[in-house]
Every structure is written in structure tokens, then in C-alpha cells.
């Protein structure tokens, strides 16, 4: 298999790298190079449409070619998009693209939620209960509001991505710092205690706060954003 392996290595090297091919219009190596390139490009552009538009066709093309050369490892093509995200995070040409991390999370997050299956049990509001984010939701503190197309100036926000079970789509919702803190506290505290702690922090009346929290937590339970937290 030595000769065969060498032939296959050379073939892949030509396909993955940009070395010149003589008379590419009539060269069958170019057919393979084009097929591989378009497979990667099409997949990545579909998963990262905003990023592709922001980077521009020329740079995106260059980055995809470099990524192909560097080698994707997952046998599942959509997981390759996650590897592309890691590749971009470490790319010297993108160190000044400050919104990159947030945009990668935002765009890949949608695919991640659409690709998952969920076994979480529907929760109901109980004041004595601990809650946590379900597997059908993702929450992140963003430095750039990439979801509203604000890429130039940094602006902190908390963004919730969640899978809508009836519509079978992913929605995003910007949540308040208060709501974000509530989610964090619910893993360690019961809903009751979390409300008391937050009321103290924000110097609010506990009963008034309970009314607002009730509406929010009921909504999130209905959307299956929050599920009961049970110790394993």
C-alpha cells in the first residue's frame, strides 16, 4: 500500500492546497478541488450567513481555503462548522474583529439548537424549586449586539436563544441584567430565595418583585427555557 498511500496523499495535497494546476479548465484535479471547496463553502455560508457577509466574499473565500488546508476532523459535516469557528478564533487576520466571538456563538447557537433532540421535562412554577436553563436554550452575555447588527461599538447585553417547540424554530430574546441574574441565582437558590436576594440587591419590595418574577418564570417554563434543577 506504500505507492497507493503516496498517490492518495499527493491527490489530497493538491486538492487541499492552492498550488497551481496547469490548464485548470481541462484538469480533472480542478474538478475535485472545486467540489471540496464548494462543499465546505456552501455549508459554512449557510451556517454563518451574517459572518460571511461581514467578512466579505474575498476574505471568506481565503479563510475557507486555509481551513480546508488545515483539515477538518469531524465525519459529520455540520460539526465541521464548529471546527471552523475554532479556526477563526485563532486566526491572525481576525484578531481585530472584536464581535467575532459573539457572532460565532449567535449563528452556531441556532444550528446547535436546531440539531438537538430534547428530553427535558416540562417544569411548572414552584417557589421552593431550583431551576436551570434547559438543553433547548442558550444564554450568553454579549459584548456586541450582533443580533441587532451592531458590530462597530461594544454594548453589553444578555441574549437568550431558545427552541420554540410548537413552531420548531429558534428564537432570540434580549433579556434584562435582572433576568440574567435571576437565571444564574436559580441554580443555587430556590426561586423564593432568589427573589429575596434580588429584592435586597436592587432594594425592591419582595411582593412586587414576586409578581414580575412569576410572570417571567411562568413564561420561561411554558417555553421550556427553564427546567427543574435536580442534583445528580
Amino acid at each position: 500500500m506504500k505507492t497507493e498511500t503516496a498517490v492518495m496523499e499527493r491527490l489530497v495535497q493538491i486538492i487541499q492546497n492552492n498550488e497551481e494546476i496547469s490548464n485548470p479548465l481541462n484538469n480533472r484535479l480542478q474538478v475535485y478541488r472545486d467540489m471540496v471547496y464548494f462543499r465546505f463553502f456552501e455549508t459554512l455560508e449557510n451556517i454563518y450567513p451574517i459572518l460571511s457577509a461581514k467578512l466579505g466574499a474575498e476574505l471568506m473565500n481565503e479563510l475557507v481555503c486555509e481551513f480546508i488546508s488545515s483539515g477538518a476532523k469531524s465525519p459529520f459535516i455540520t460539526k465541521m462548522a464548529e471546527e471552523f469557528g475554532h479556526f477563526l478564533r485563532h486566526h491572525p487576520k481576525l484578531t481585530s474583529t472584536l464581535f467575532l466571538e459573539d457572532l460565532l456563538w449567535f449563528e452556531y447557537g441556532e444550528l446547535e439548537l436546531l440539531s438537538r433532540d430534547f428530553n427535558d421535562t416540562h417544569a411548572r412554577l414552584e417557589w421552593s424549586q431550583h431551576y436551570k436553563l434547559s438543553s433547548s436554550s442558550l444564554l450568553r452575555n454579549l459584548s456586541y449586539k450582533v443580533h441587532t447588527g451592531e458590530f462597530e461599538s461594544p454594548c453589553v447585553s444578555s441574549l437568550l436563544l431558545y427552541y420554540h417547540f410548537d413552531e420548531k424554530r429558534v428564537y432570540f430574546e434580549e433579556i434584562t441584567p435582572f433576568a440574567q441574574q435571576l437565571v444564574e441565582k436559580l441554580e443555587n437558590l430556590t426561586l423564593e430565595s432568589a427573589v429575596s436576594t434580588l429584592a435586597e440587591m436592587y432594594e425592591l419590595d419582595v411582593e412586587t418583585l414576586r409578581q414580575s418574577v412569576r410572570i417571567l418564570v411562568e413564561k420561561w417554563c411554558n417555553q421550556r427555557v427553564l427546567i427543574k434543577f435536580t442534583e445528580v
Binding site: I15, N26, R39, P75, F165
Partner: protein
């Protein structure tokens, strides 16, 4: 192959819902396990209803049987779990390679057609079959160049099938495309394939560039007249189930079902004779 007879269709996400509400479904379906291993919530219920209701064949794309390195065991475990979960007996893959040194190209690349490769692939087939606890069916892939060769494609396939005692998935469109691109007679090629080796057959579309030298196996177009004719001639020699494979540029299901009806008529005509 006792679980599938007649005509099949490749199941695609693009028409999953429409497929589930079809009154007259194809005799069997083929699915690509890599596309369903992580079945998303939005498709799961419909997918499982379909899987429970009809015969299914799995047709993989990432096994890379021709790669010099050993097969990725974690990938194989995922495939096995999927096949076991849905009780799928038949698993087919391409005679090609797509991975080298752990790096993926996500394309079916051409193999050197040599005796050493016959043995290499034959041994890997046995390993895969042992691992999966079911036979592996190998498909003749389309190729645009022959990187290194000691034998013709039909001999290469026959030798592998004989060495590993494996069945074949004969893609009639690929035979047509390869014959046009490499200047051999598609009927002679099919005559060389032992009918008893053929587990099932594919038929698909390809792209003809009027000014180009090559036919491209896109699996993204309607089946051409010449491929239909080649299938009719093939069916006179090989009695095996046939299915329509459409991977790209997926049309609405009713359009594919027109092709399916045409296929059924051709196959029925064969059966009458």
C-alpha cells in the same frame, strides 16, 4: 436481500413531512445515517414514524473505506448504534475515500485501482462487518480521474467483492457517467458484474455541460433519457431492487414521485417478462 423488493426512494429532510402524508409510499426508503444520527427534535417524530412503517436501507457517506488508516472506531460505534436503534439490516457505502490522516474532505475521492488496494479494502470490509454485525454493501462511485491503476474499474470491483465476499450497490448513473468520462462501454461494464452480487441499484441524475468534456455526477438533476435506457438494459440482466437517489437541488416530492412512478413502470415491465 430479503427486506427490500421493488422500488425505493432516498428520504430527504426537505420533503420529510410531505413524505409522511403520502398515500402511496415507495416500497422502501434509503437514508443517510450521518444526516440522522443526531436527529433534531423538529424531525424526530415524523422520522421515527416513517422508520417504523417501511423497509429501510442505510447508505453512508463518511466511512472512507479506501483510506490507508484504520476506520475511526468512534464513528463506527455511532453508525452501529444508529443501525441497531432502527433495526436496519442493510448498510451500504462508497468505494472511495474521503479522509486521509484524520482530515476530512467530505467528497468521494478516487482510489488507486490496484491489487494491494483490493486486499486493503477487502480486509477493512471484514473488519467493518465484524464490528457492525451486518454485511457492508459497496457502491461503485463516480470518479473523474484514476490516480493510479493496475486494472479496469469493473475488475477492481469484482475482485473486492470476491475477496471480501460482499454485495454490491450498483449505481447505474455512476456507470453511465464514468463510461462517458473514461471512454468505456457501460453495457460491457454491467455485463461484467455478477448479477448475484448486486444487492440493489441506484439511479440518479447528472449534469451535462454542453461545452465541457466531463459529465458531473451531481445527483441533483432529473434522470436523463440515456440513464433510463441503461437501466432498462441493466434490468434485463440484473434482478435487484432499484431506487432513485437525489442528493442535491431537491425538488418537491411530487416531482420525485413522477420519476418514481416511471421507475416502477420500468421495473414492473421487467417483472412481467
Amino acid at each position: 436481500m430479503n427486506t427490500i423488493t421493488g422500488c425505493g426512494l432516498g428520504l430527504r429532510r426537505e420533503f420529510l413531512e410531505d413524505f409522511s402524508s403520502l398515500k402511496k409510499k415507495p416500497d422502501w426508503i434509503e437514508i443517510t445515517p450521518e444526516n440522522w444520527i443526531f436527529t433534531p427534535h423538529r424531525y424526530r417524530e415524523t422520522f421515527e414514524q416513517i422508520m417504523d412503517s417501511m423497509p429501510v436501507v442505510a447508505h453512508g457517506v463518511s466511512l472512507s473505506i479506501g483510506s490507508p488508516e484504520a476506520i475511526d472506531k468512534s464513528f463506527l460505534s455511532e453508525i452501529k448504534a444508529f443501525l441497531d436503534r432502527y433495526n436496519i439490516e442493510h448498510y451500504s457505502e462508497h468505494l472511495s475515500f474521503s479522509t486521509l490522516g484524520g482530515m476530512q474532505t467530505y467528497e468521494l475521492l478516487p482510489l488507486p485501482m490496484t491489487r494491494a488496494m483490493v486486499i486493503h479494502i477487502g480486509d477493512k470490509i471484514k473488519h467493518v462487518e465484524d464490528f457492525l454485525q451486518r454485511p457492508l454493501i459497496l457502491e461503485n462511485a463516480s470518479y473523474y480521474l484514476t490516480p493510479y491503476s493496475e486494472m479496469a474499474e469493473a475488475d477492481f470491483i469484482n475482485e473486492i467483492a470476491q475477496y471480501a465476499d460482499t454485495k454490491l450497490l450498483l449505481d447505474v448513473n455512476n456507470v453511465y457517467v464514468n463510461a462517458a468520462n473514461h471512454g468505456f462501454d457501460p453495457d460491457q461494464y454491467i455485463a461484467q458484474i455478477s448479477p448475484s452480487r448486486v444487492a440493489y441499484m441506484h439511479i440518479a441524475g447528472h449534469l451535462e455541460y454542453p461545452d465541457e468534456v466531463l459529465l458531473l455526477d451531481t445527483h441533483g438533476e432529473a434522470i436523463t433519457k440515456n440513464v433510463w435506457k441503461l437501466l432498462e438494459r441493466t434490468l434485463k440482466k440484473i434482478d435487484a431492487p432499484v431506487m432513485i437517489e437525489r442528493d442535491n437541488n431537491i425538488p418537491p416530492l411530487h416531482e420525485l414521485m413522477k420519476e418514481y412512478k416511471k421507475l416502477s413502470k420500468i421495473v414492473a415491465k421487467r417483472s412481467v417478462k
